[in-house]
Amino acid sequence: MSTPSTSTTDSRLAEMTAKMTAREAEIRRRIEELRACRAEGKSEAEQYTAFEAAFDAERLAIVEDMEALESVKTAAISTVEINNSLAAINDKIACLQRYHSDSVGFLPAYVSASAKAKVEELANKLADLRERVVPKKKFAFSSAASSNRNPKQQQPQQQPQKQQQQTQQPKVEPTLHNLTGKTVVLSDESVANKDILLSDLADCTIKVLSHPATLHLNGLTNCTILCGPVHRSVLIEKCTDFTLVVACHQLRLHCSTRCKLYLHVTSTPIIEYSNDVLIAPYNFNYANLSDHVTLSGLNWHRNQWDQVQDFNHLAGHVASPNWSIMPEADRLNWEE
């Protein structure tokens, strides 16, 4: 049983990468060509001939990609690489499909139908290929967020876009897990625009002096979380005796009790299977707050902090006993 040398693998990969990049440029050129041709008011016949040519060239290129991937499959490249290649091919098929749907307007029915069938054929081929080249290993759910299950090495990648994405693994990156009695400050670039997951913390104070993309809290007990503006959503589950000060676009609280929430939220906050929830307006103040508000894109003039909807009290038209507005005298001031 011989494994190919690393250098062979690298050169093959480099070759594939170069090929794919070149083709990427080529297809862009073709699409531009076609667009130009349409703009110049050429006849419909000319347009769809051009479409067919570009479409078929790209289709053949995708078939080549698949053949190339199949020919190197024999344990020469990692699962990550295989998945990347499959994803890249998938993207190209999607691109081809879009190209087709963009062009439907001027294509004769039979050309359109045949192009559609060809896209489907490609998709099926890709599914078959995936079946053959991806090792039959089940996705593991356990400790998905915290474990270092990423077998990634620094290898060249096909697409810059993908590369950026792949290097984020393990995905929920700025994660605090299983801490007791700690005070942690997360600031600026390390968490800016990132997804933050805080899980299984007890007696901790966490300050996020930044503008994360999302914030997930899970299994917190007796904690205080102070956070700058979150671009998107905040999701809280199974937390007790905790204080959260946050600004965000959406907020959902599940299965939690004895919570104090100081909120700036641009849509209506919702709670479900939760009780003893006290709500107050956001009042966290730290040096870069206003910059972070701008960066987060949150509407600072719209705050629905007191428009809480309780999923366990929707139909009744009676006020939910599970939450209330925190009396002003009880509100604390939160500073950096």
């Binding site: 998945n83 499959l86 994803a87 998938n90 999607a94 499909q97 879009r98 749907s101 439907v104 559609k116 998709a123 599914a127 995936r130 079946e131 991806v134 089940k138 996705f139 759910f141 998905a144 967020a145 993908k162 994405q165 984020q168 995905k171 929920v172 990156e173 625009n193 990132k194 997804d195 997951l197 899980s199 993309a213 999302t214 997930h216 899970n218 998107r232 959503s233 999701l235 676009h249 959406q250 959902r252 599940h254 641009t266 849509s267 209506t268 919702i270 479900e272 299977y273 509407n299 719209r302 629905q304 909807q309 999923f311 366990n312 929707l314």
Partner: protein
């Protein structure tokens, strides 16, 4: 089956397509529908009930049913299965922690008799977030390759940027059209 439901089925022949959008809460279902429709997405609130949007797209009339995904709402999903042509399952690709919940709810839909004829589009949403798994990883997590009950396809997408929304919906319409309107 009542007389009205038969009538309803018969009338839904004229390039009218019923699409049901489901997924866990916070998956981005409403944002996705709004973005596709060109609406403002800045102030989308969590869905407490359901919304219906009728969109004209490529000569089809799409009746898009968007039902809230909170845990306490999921038992009501079945009230919306009837006569569904296309099921869109939306996944928050950045929420790995609940991926097992997601798979479980998804699995329950697959065995639903009243959804048996529906084309299945999976949107691995929130690809614009740094923590998002890609479509291949979501596909693996949901074991999409093992789905034999429906025509299915997965697209990585972002409801916020609009990435791949059109591609996904176009695939869905094509798939439905090839089954339902093939007589044309």
């Amino acid at each position: 089956m009542g007389f009205y439901s038969i009538l309803k089925k018969l009338k839904e022949k004229e390039k009218e397509v019923r699409i049901l959008i489901l997924g866990l809460d916070n998956a981005g279902k409403t944002t996705l529908v709004k973005k596709f429709n060109g609406d403002d997405i800045d102030e989308v609130s969590p869905t407490l009930g359901f919304s219906i949007k009728t969109l004209e797209h490529r000569g089809f009339r799409l009746n898009v049913w968007d039902v809230g995904g909170q845990k306490s709402l999921r038992s009501y999903w079945r009230n919306y299965f009837e006569a569904t042509d296309g099921l869109v399952w939306v996944v928050d690709s950045a929420d790995q922690r609940r991926l097992s919940d997601c798979k479980q709810e998804f699995g329950q839909l697959l065995v639903e008799e009243r959804l048996a004829g529906a084309s299945l589009l999976v949107f691995a949403n929130k690809q614009d977030l740094p923590g998002a798994l890609d479509a291949g990883q979501i596909s693996a997590a949901l074991e999409l390759d093992n789905v034999k009950t429906h025509h299915s396809r997965i697209f990585g997408c972002s409801a916020v940027t609009g990435l791949n929304l059109l591609e996904g919906i176009d695939w869905l319409i094509d798939d439905i059209a090839s089954r339902v309107f093939s007589a044309d």
